[in-house]
C-alpha cells in the first residue's frame, strides 16, 4: 500500500482542531482530571492533553459506552410500547490522539461485536468515528505492543496517523483511509508536501518480550495448571483491568424501571467479578479468583485467536498500570511462555 505522507507543522495541529470544530465535528480527545487521562468530548484545544505515554482509560467508549440505553419501554392499558434507539441520533466523532495499540484494539473490539451476531449499535457508533492516531515516541516498562503484533508506529486502525518528528518537532501525517482524506480536504493547507520522511527513528523502542503464538499453544495445555492460583493470589477481584482495557467487551443488560416505564441499558461487566458467572441456582462455575484470572488470560490469548483469528490484547499495558495489586500481565504472559507443560 502506498501511503500519502504529508508534513503537518507543530502549530498546525491547533488550527486543524479549530477547523474541525468550525465544521461541527464532535471531537473526543485525551483529557486530564485528577492526574488521570480519559477520552472526553473536548471543546477547546487547550482541553487536550498531549503529555502521556498512554491514557488511563481506553478510547473504546466512543463505540462501546460504559452505559448505553438500548430501548425505552412503557406499559399502558393497551399493552407495551417499546422504542428502540435511532442510529441517526449517533453523532459523527473525530477521535483525537489515540495510540497505535488502541487503534489496533478497535479492530479487535469490532471482531467481538461482529462474531456470530452483528451488533447494530456498536457498528453504528464505530462507523461514525474518524480516528486520528498519534505514534509513540516514548514507551514505559508496561508497554508490549510489539509482542502482540503491533508497533509504536502501526497504521492499523487509524484514518490518519501522526508521528512527531522528534521532541517538539513537526509531524508526519500518513493519510490512510477515505475518512482520513475527508479530514485533509477540510484543511488541505495544513497538510504540506513531505519529502521522503522516514518515521522509524522517531518511534519508541519497544522490545518483543514473548511470542504470542507460543503463549497460545502453551495455554492449550495449561488449563489445569497450579500456576493460575499462584499468579492470582494477589488479585483483589475488582474490574479495573477490564474497564481500562481497549478490547474487553463483556457487558450486562439491566432494566432501569420507574413505575410503569423504564429503559433497558447495556453496561460494562467484568469476568473478574464473582457475580459474573453466578447462576440462579447459586452454583458458580468460576468460584474462586484463580478461575476468573484464568478466564481473562484464556479469553484473550486462546479463545479469541481460535474463534476470531485475532488476539484480545494490544499490549497497551493499561491493566497493569491500573491494577491496585500490581498484577502485571506482561510478567504473567512471559511465565506462561516459559512454562514446560
Amino acid at each position: 500500500m502506498n501511503i500519502d505522507g504529508r508534513l503537518v507543522r507543530k502549530e498546525s495541529l491547533e488550527k486543524l482542531f479549530k477547523i474541525l470544530k468550525a465544521n461541527n465535528r464532535t471531537i473526543v480527545g485525551p483529557s486530564q482530571k485528577n492526574g488521570r487521562i480519559s477520552y472526553k468530548m473536548v471543546e477547546n484545544y487547550e482541553g487536550i492533553t498531549s503529555e502521556y505515554i498512554q491514557t488511563t482509560q481506553s478510547p473504546k467508549e466512543v463505540a462501546f459506552p460504559r452505559t448505553e440505553k438500548i430501548l425505552d419501554y412503557s406499559k399502558n392499558a393497551d399493552g407495551m410500547t417499546v422504542k428502540g434507539i435511532n442510529a441517526d441520533d449517533i453523532p459523527d466523532i473525530v477521535l483525537w490522539g489515540v495510540r497505535p495499540c488502541d487503534t489496533m484494539g478497535m479492530g479487535e473490539l469490532s471482531a467481538i461485536f461482529n462474531w456470530d451476531y452483528r451488533d447494530e449499535i456498536y457498528n453504528s457508533r464505530s462507523s461514525r468515528v474518524t480516528v486520528l492516531g498519534f505514534s509513540c515516541g516514548k514507551s514505559d516498562e508496561y508497554c508490549f505492543c510489539t509482542s502482540v503484533g503491533g508497533n509504536p508506529g502501526n497504521i492499523e486502525g487509524s484514518d490518519i496517523l501522526f508521528t512527531q518528528l522528534g521532541e517538539n518537532g513537526d509531524y508526519l501525517a500518513e493519510i490512510i483511509t477515505e475518512k482520513g482524506s475527508q479530514v485533509v480536504s477540510l484543511a488541505s493547507d495544513l497538510f504540506e508536501k513531505a519529502e521522503n520522511i522516514v518515521k522509524g527513528k522517531f518511534l519508541a523502542d519497544v522490545p518483543v518480550r514473548f511470542e504470542k503464538e507460543q503463549v497460545r499453544q502453551n495455554l492449550e495445555k495449561y488449563f489445569d495448571s497450579e500456576q493460575w492460583v499462584a499468579q492470582s493470589l494477589k488479585c483483589l477481584g475488582c474490574g479495573a483491568c477490564a474497564y481500562v482495557c481497549p478490547t474487553c467487551a463483556c457487558f450486562d443488560i439491566q432494566d432501569e424501571a420507574h413505575g410503569k416505564s423504564g429503559s433497558r441499558v447495556r453496561c460494562w461487566d467484568s469476568c473478574g467479578f464473582s457475580l459474573f458467572t453466578l447462576h440462579t441456582s447459586g452454583h458458580n462455575p468460576r468460584e474462586v479468583q484463580s478461575q476468573r484470572w484464568r478466564q481473562r488470560i484464556m479469553h484473550k490469548f486462546s479463545y479469541m485467536p481460535d474463534r476470531l483469528s485475532v488476539y484480545g490484547c494490544t499490549g497497551c499495558g493499561r491493566c497493569s498500570r491500573a491494577c491496585p495489586a500490581d498484577m502485571n500481565i506482561l510478567d504473567h504472559l512471559i511465565s506462561i511462555q516459559e512454562v514446560t507443560v
Binding site: 479495573a240 495489586a325 502485571n328
Partner: protein
C-alpha cells in the same frame, strides 16, 4: 527488613505459620503483596516507605485464609485494620500472627491481638493537612456547591469496585451492589447510581474505617472518595465518643446506647 526476613523464614521452617504475607518489589518502583510458603523465598521480602498497600485486605480472602495460619507484615494502618477485623470476628489469634512494623520501621512480633490493640492505641488516627484542608473547603460549600462537587468527582467512576476490593473492611461475601432482588443500587455507571454506591460505601464504613487510604490508592481514576470516609471518621469522633479500632465488639454505629445523641434527628 533483615529481621523480618529472618523471622519469616524461621516461622515457615518451624511450620508455625503456613504463609507469610508481606511486600515484594513490583513494577515501576512500586511494591506489591507477596505470599511466601517456602522458607527459601523469605529473601524476596522488602519493607520501606513504598509499602502503602493495606495487606489486611488479603487476610479475609478465601484463597489466602484457606492455606492455614498466616503471618503478616503489618504497618500501623494494617494493624488497625486487623484489630477492627478481629472485633468483627474475621480473624483471631488462631489464624493470624502479626509481625508489626512500627512507624520507626522496627519489627515487633506480637504475642496476640490484644498486644496489637494496645500498640495501635498509642497512636491517634490523624487526618493529614492536605485532606483536612479539602474537608474544610467542602464543609464551607453551600449544599448546591457541594452537590456539584460530588457529582463532578463521582460521575467519572466506572464502578470497577477497586475501592471495595482494596478495602480491608469490605470483606462481605456478597456486597449490597450484588443483590438484585431487589436491586438496591443501580448496576450501570450513572450520575445518581454512582452517588448511591459511594454514599452507601461510606456509611457502611462509618466507625469502622481505619483511614488507610487503600480505596483512594486503588482507584484507577484517582477519585477522592476517601474524603467521604475521612468525614465519617471525624463525625464519629465528634458525635459518638471517638473511634479507635478495638477488640471489644461494641461497634460505634451498630450499638445503641441510651445516651447516644439524637440531636441530628429532625
Amino acid at each position: 527488613m533483615d529481621e523480618l526476613r529472618r523471622r519469616a523464614k524461621e516461622l515457615l521452617e518451624a511450620s508455625s505459620v503456613k504463609v507469610v504475607i508481606g511486600y515484594e518489589n513490583g513494577t515501576d518502583g512500586k511494591t506489591r503483596a507477596l505470599f511466601i510458603e517456602n522458607p527459601a523465598d523469605a529473601g524476596k521480602l522488602v519493607f520501606d516507605s513504598r509499602c502503602i498497600m493495606n495487606l489486611a485486605a488479603y487476610i479475609t480472602k478465601h484463597e489466602v485464609k484457606s492455606k492455614g495460619k498466616m503471618a503478616i507484615a503489618a504497618t500501623l494502618p494494617v494493624m488497625r485494620a486487623i484489630v477492627q477485623l478481629a472485633s468483627e470476628f474475621q480473624v483471631n489469634d488462631n489464624n493470624l500472627l502479626v509481625l508489626g512494623i512500627t512507624p520507626e520501621s522496627k519489627m515487633i512480633e506480637f504475642k496476640d491481638l490484644t498486644e496489637v490493640e494496645t500498640f495501635v492505641h498509642q497512636y491517634q488516627i490523624e487526618i493529614d493537612s492536605r485532606n483536612k484542608e479539602m474537608l474544610d473547603r467542602i464543609e464551607k460549600m453551600t449544599p448546591s456547591e457541594r452537590w456539584d462537587f460530588w457529582i463532578q468527582e463521582l460521575t467519572p467512576c466506572f464502578k470497577c469496585y477497586a475501592c471495595r476490593a482494596a478495602c480491608p473492611m469490605c470483606y462481605c461475601h456478597r456486597c449490597t451492589v450484588e443483590f438484585n432482588q431487589p436491586q438496591w443500587i443501580p448496576v450501570p455507571s450513572s450520575e445518581l447510581g454512582n452517588l448511591e454506591w459511594h454514599i452507601m460505601r461510606a456509611i457502611h464504613l462509618a466507625g469502622r474505617c481505619v483511614d488507610c487510604d487503600a480505596c483512594y490508592n486503588a482507584c484507577p481514576l484517582a477519585i477522592p472518595l476517601n474524603l467521604l470516609t475521612k468525614r465519617m471518621l471525624l463525625d464519629a469522633r465528634e458525635h459518638f465518643g471517638g473511634y479507635q479500632p478495638s477488640l471489644k465488639a461494641e461497634h460505634l454505629m451498630s450499638t445503641y446506647k441510651p445516651d447516644d445523641k439524637e440531636n441530628f434527628i429532625m
